[in-house]
């Protein structure tokens, strides 16, 4: 139910009723999305979209954090991949 899909804003326009609306591309599929809750979002930003509303602008620096952690662990040589266990 709380599904949020990340998409890139390709254009922003004002709808006739005054709600800020944007066209957002989800890997090529384009949908109209309400930007009322992320007024700071601009074209080319990635936003998390839930039931037609943008709820958060994705922070690119934070998005890399998990990979930075993995690189760091790799350099320390601390990650040995466990052997898969047999499952029933």
């Amino acid at each position: 139910m709380c599904l949020g899909v990340p998409g890139r804003i390709i254009s922003i326009d004002e709808s006739p009723v005054g709600m800020p609306m944007a066209r957002v591309s989800f890997a090529g599929i384009v949908k109209e999305v309400c930007l009322a809750y992320t007024p700071e979002a601009s074209v080319d930003d990635f936003v998390v979209v839930h039931v037609g509303f943008s709820i958060s602008v994705i922070d690119e620096a934070e998005a890399d954090r998990v990979f930075a952690y993995l690189r760091e662990m790799n350099e320390l040589g601390e990650l040995e991949i466990p052997q898969p266990e047999a499952t029933p």
Binding site: M1, M19, F26, F46, L79
Partner: protein
Amino acid sequence: MKYVDEYRDAADSQKMLAAIHQRVTREWTLMEVCGGQTHTLIKFGIDRMLPEQVQIVHGPGCPVCVTPLEMIDRAIAIARMPNVIFTSFGDMLRVPGSETDLLSVKAAGGDVRIVYSPLDAVRIAEQNPHREVVFFAVGFETTAPANAMAVWEAAHRGVLNFSMLVSHVLVPPAMEAILSAETNRVQGFLAAGHVCAIMGYHEYEPIAQKYRVPMVVTGFEPLDLLHGTLMLIEMLEDGRIGVENQYARAVRREGNTVAQQTVSQVFMAGERKWRGIGEIPASGLSLRPEYAAHDAELRFAVGTITADEPAECISGAIMQGHQKPHQCPAFGTRCTPERPLGAPMVSSEGACAAYYNYGRVLA
């Protein structure tokens, strides 16, 4: 797809899994409170790849599953009325009420329509000024801003034939209900990322302190869930309590304050019954009195319906982490997605449906 595919990378997931295996020294029981996370954990087999000492139980994280039976019956009663167009997200349609479900009402000639966004329901109301258009507002904090905006827009544009049947629930009171139970065995929480994208996570901090548990705000992709699990296990192993944020690319501590303002203008908190669990104080949202004209419960006199759960369904025990779906005697036999006894077997996000669909029948 950017911000999705890279978080599903198998090699990176194996590395994160290795880190979890290295870190665990004893048994831990963790809980997620999000149907989307339940789905990812089971679909990708993460629950089976974690060390044996780590058990993830699935909390009441599926709004469809916790919507009380009498609310489904109210929805059905309204949907059957002759002049009504009843609109809903798709996953509510097959949830069993005490006698039937919304899809059967549609099959019998009722005008029941699936919408993608609550704003679509407002559009339908504008296009059908002589019909009553009702939207079934079910969801957690993530969905509340969208539903609040639909009511706000209908009120401000004078769309008087639009109303909402509200069954909104809030996550923190449910976490407290689980943590305060004598039988609680949950030692740490993976907090749901998109709920926190709206509400932030400052309201979790006093709960973490009060019950002495760690929590990690976590995203929805496999690598997010593994990273969140690792962070939570590190907190548990180190004896740290508090709230950390794995999903920082989308969640800030204060949340989305613009959305919070609209929600508090339109909705107010109140007691709400959770299917399988019971009444939890201040755990739901209802429309404020100034939006009473758009409140379907006041507009259609169906508020007195009461109903009992099917005795055989153990969804309450499952959603409180006491039992797993396949431990239910009816699982996969008398209760299947085609003929469900309870809501968690219906919704694609329900724990029982996830276990059934991804082959945990013989687990």
